[in-house]
């Protein structure tokens, strides 16, 4: 096996292409959980938005209408979660799981009803989001390394990829340097203190959930209208949970969550690349074994073998105003 067999270049490019699904969902989860609401329903929101984006994108032949429809659906689901977690003071875990299961069924039923293709939507074809070609890409193409770096690693992705990467510093700024972020963190750490300081905890949490719904929708839209070009049953395949884990891994901090997302994106890329490749000592790895790697890694991360993570203190507990 030589270095070239592993296709480091294509692994890096597909890492960049894999990561946005996790980055959008990870940043979404970060807003929800920093406000004190567990968002285990990311998976269901991704799935719903992926389906609606693909279906509307196909029907209108315009990907942007798809993205917008995805935003609406994902924010509606987030409102439902917020209603349960904040107004009803119900069990947040159960609500999230319920949304995930219900969406897994509903997206199939509706996709089947409209398209009769076994729960799949038709190919979006030209209604997929186009890739950005950076100016001068053709000119530098022949320069070794630099040409590849500029035209394929940095350039040549969909707008949503750039949006995802740009989101990270923005979220960092909002969470740590804005008034909204200060209140957000206060609600997640000590809602009673925040309340005493005059913050409307319930409204803050609703806002956080709506932002989460908004951001999470891009995850689904990216899956269906950028990555695959169609919706497929259960196509999120655990991305919501992986994003959540990246967040736990990153200690509920935007920059480290981003690194976690990149790591999972990298493993996803490696999985595709080394499938069928003869490796030294271990030989050929069966695809399913490689498929397991991110999940096993997640368990290892959760077990605290890499770093100890500290959740927002009020995470998961409904806020009851003290009298």
């Amino acid at each position: 096996m030589t270095f070239d067999d592993l296709h480091i270049g294509s692994i890096l490019v597909s890492t960049v292409r894999n990561a946005p699904v996790l980055i959008f969902a990870g940043m979404a989860g970060l807003f929800a959980e920093r406000s004190g609401v567990i968002d285990i329903g990311l998976e269901g929101k991704i799935l719903a938005s992926a389906f609606v984006s693909a279906a509307v994108g196909f029907a209108t032949q315009n990907p942007w209408y798809g993205v917008m429809a995805g935003i609406v659906v994902s924010m509606l689901l987030a409102s439902l979660q917020a209603y349960i977690a904040i107004t009803q003071k119900g069990n947040q875990l159960v609500a999230g799981i319920a949304i995930n299961i219900a969406m897994s069924g509903l997206t199939f039923v509706v996709a089947q009803y409209f398209f009769q293709q076994g729960g799949r939507t038709p190919d979006l074809g030209s209604a997929r989001l186009f890739d950005v070609v950076l100016p001068g890409s053709a000119a530098v193409e022949h320069i070794p390394f630099l040409g590849w770096f500029y035209a394929h690693l940095i350039g040549g992705h969909s707008v949503l990829v750039y949006l995802a990467f740009a989101l990270v510093p923005l979220v960092h700024w909002v969470v740590y340097h804005s008034r909204f972020g200060l209140r957000l963190r206060a609600c997640g750490e000590n809602p009673h203190a925040a309340d005493a300081a005059g913050v409307n905890v319930e409204r803050q949490r609703y806002m956080a959930m709506l932002i989460a719904g908004f951001l999470c929708s891009f995850s689904g839209a990216y899956l269906s209208i950028v990555q695959s070009g169609f919706f497929l049953r259960d196509m999120s395949a655990g991305a919501g949970y992986l994003a959540l884990t990246a967040m736990v891994f990153g200690n509920w901090r935007p920059l480290y969550t981003f690194l976690g997302c990149l790591m999972f994106g990298f493993f996803g890329a490696v999985q595709i690349q080394i499938e069928g490749v003869e490796l030294p000592v271990i030989g050929r790895l069966p695809g399913a074994m490689i498929q397991m790697v991110p999940y096993v890694l997640t368990v290892i991360v959760l077990a605290g073998l890499m770093a100890k993570s500290v959740a927002p203190k009020a995470l998961g507990s409904p806020f009851v105003k003290s009298r």
């Binding site: 285990i40 349960i84 009803q88 003071k89 119900g90 069990n91 947040q92 875990l93 159960v94 609500a95 799981i97 319920a98 949304i99 995930n100 299961i101 219900a102 969406m103 897994s104 069924g105 509903l106 199939f108 039923v109 089947q112 009803y113 729960g119 655990g238 949970y241 959540l244 884990t245 736990v248 069966p286 399913a288 074994m289 498929q291 397991m292 999940y295 096993v296 997640t298 368990v299 959760l302 077990a303 605290g304």
Partner: protein, 357 residues
Amino acid sequence: MNKDLPRWATGFVMPLLNLLSALLVTALVIHLLGESPTESLAILVNSAVVNPEGLSYTLFYASTFIFTGLAVSIAMEAGLFNIGAEGQMYFAGLGLTLAMLTFDSSLSAWLLIPIGMLGAALFGALWAFVPGYLQAKRGSHVVVTTIMFNYIAGALMNTIIVKLVPAGEQNPASRAFAAAAEMPRLNQWFPILGETPLNISFFLAIIALVIYGVVVSRSSWGFKLRATGLNKHAAHYAGIRISKMIIIVMLISGALAGLGSVNSIMGSTHYLSLNFVGGAGFIGIAIALMGRQHPVGIFLSAVLFGALTQGGFDLSLEKQNIPPEMVILVQGLIILFCGAMENLYAPAIAKMLKLKK
């Protein structure tokens, strides 16, 4: 659970109202799909309850669901949300199959059935042990780890089942077991049930329900279990070793989920196949929430889900716009209304009761 209301209201009226709400939303979806909800309900009831063969299938599915429901319930009693019944039952199928492939040619049915159950329970418990251990010792949340273990089980079984496929076969399944390893079917004694797979696992499930009821609410261990679930810190001060409790409960939970595979494999297919669990583990979550972790509630919810599964199949044959996946949506809605929004109607009921006084 609302403490201001009488027990009949929290234990019976509220779950019923929540269930009706979930079914109402389902009816709305069916209506939007252009089918008649009332007609669909009639087809469902007829094929799942009225017709004896259908009822037999309903109880067959219910037997598996009782085990997965019990698995989720017992963990819930200790305050643990085990989402991994799906993976635990899947992995348990491997334990059962390995036991059968080893012994089915040499032992009699009297020994094979207990050995199969043992294999299933052991592998199910093993698959639940790691999340339990990590929760107890490292504080990793059991919800996320069990979800991960579902995915890991799925990927792992993909690789393992291929190795069990007999030479010359194409189907991703193990060889069929010898006839001695088949659970006796109830249609031997009740011919009216027809050619249905309902087998003595149904009685095993009932026995499991009774044992669960006695152990959880009548034994001292059950008291410690519930104390852990109600208030971990108080239980710790009362001298209960929480981490040991968590690990033991997860082992039992996994073993119960594992026993669900006995009905599915030894009672019906007689071989291990890809994805044989088919969501029974997730249905266990809905059953535990709707049945409020009470044996009678678990039984009734399991029968309801058995009827939905059986009736859902027939419904999807007759109604073009209603695929069998509709059951997954109903499941999600029931978890939503009976679990997350369980107190939705509490204020209204409280108001009504006060008006009467």
